[in-house]
Symmetry: C2
Subunit: 229 residues, 2 copies
């Protein structure tokens, strides 16, 4: 059984990605980051999802990105609400600088040690292309770099593969895929600005995308909302 | 004056790189990592060097790579002594998995926020090619990836440049260059296994390379050694 590392935020996309890696027969190693998120519900979701999939190992890596500032998710900027999701060619304020680069780089360190040549990340370019580090051309370049950066890459012939099973799926497709693979979406968390009791706001970009996805999939999101639009 | 970020370990190479960036007219932002090194002398050297160059800003990023294990520099493995430095095609036990990838990825986050498009790293492929992430082909691939990963890269046309002024220099060349640029090498630290009082061991790979470099440059290393071979 081959080892795989899955970047697991506890959101809908990374959870579905975990289900795909399990379906494909990998031994699952989940990696989450404690990066100064505004709230703890995301890490709690990651723990619950890791347990649900009975992963071989789940590590939570402390990473204090807030020392550089620059994003609504790690600083005190307001999370935008009820914005249209159709904003081509603009990068949202919720973009965390170089986040996926850093997450994949740290996954690569674990990959060297395990070893594991297969890394899974739930990036999705179709529904929400505002983040530069969610695009296929970024992933391709990261994979090339990773094979030159590592012992694994030097000693074998370009063995490292960054898997992006969701890259070209809509949110609706993703939810249908995960549902087919037995994902329990009530364990996941997406909201950028949840209430103190953990309920989702229903109005941030993440909530809007998630709810639209469930509608597209013809399903009802099992999560509780403060206000379900 | 353009901003530059310099990865500063406090060693001979990163200190010389800092001197080159200053010579080239950049406003200096030094970035060091507290990554579970065996000893604190390295960070102390980084602080002293940053002060020497009167950098605009010096950040020390906490990064606990020891959670994955896998290197003599972050775990309890013994540091090898008196090994021949001519070991082509072998990766030393002191290799820290994906270290430069992680360091540059985190520098990229700071670059987005500052902003800065110029990153300096003191990698050196000629004298010691054992680390895969010290080679030019790694740096080239990282630069390509960085320009696809970031807002800076998307909004301009491949603006991010990873500068490696030492890439093709011998240790002797590096020391001559730094000496010409006014570097005070007594502030730097290289030894993997210093004595409790901070003196260098004289026998680990880092000490051997450093001492050979000073000999090549026709200079005397100002650092105190437990045993100067």
């Amino acid at each position: 059984m081959k080892n795989a590392i899955i970047l697991l935020s506890g959101g809908l996309d990374s959870t579905t990605t975990c289900a795909v890696a399990r379906r494909d027969g990998y031994r699952l190693h989940a990696l989450s980051f404690d990066y100064g998120q505004r709230h703890r519900f995301e890490l709690e979701a990651a723990r619950n999802v890791a347990q649900f999939f009975q992963v071989a190992d789940h590590r939570i890596f402390p990473l204090d990105l807030s020392v550089f500032g620059g994003s609504a998710l790690t600083t005190d900027l307001d999370v935008p609400k009820d914005q249209t999701l159709d904003r081509p060619n603009t990068i949202p304020i919720t973009y965390v600088p170089a986040r996926n680069t850093i997450f994949l780089a740290i996954a690569l360190a674990w990959a060297e040690v395990l070893p594991a040549t297969d890394l899974f990340i739930g990036v999705n370019a179709l529904d929400y292309s505002g983040y530069p580090d969610c695009r296929g051309e970024f992933i391709d370049a990261f994979q090339t770099m990773a094979n030159r950066a590592t012992r694994l890459g030097v000693e074998q012939s370009e063995p490292i593969r960054i898997h992006t099973p969701l890259l070209k799926l809509t949110k609706g497709d993703i939810i249908r895929l995960g549902t087919d693979l037995g994902v329990n979406y009530s364990l996941t968390h997406s909201c950028y600005d949840p209430a103190a009791d953990g309920r989702s706001c229903g109005h941030c970009d993440a909530c809007q995308l998630r709810l639209r996805g469930f509608r597209e999939a013809g399903l009802v999101d099992p999560l509780p909302y403060v206000d379900r639009p």
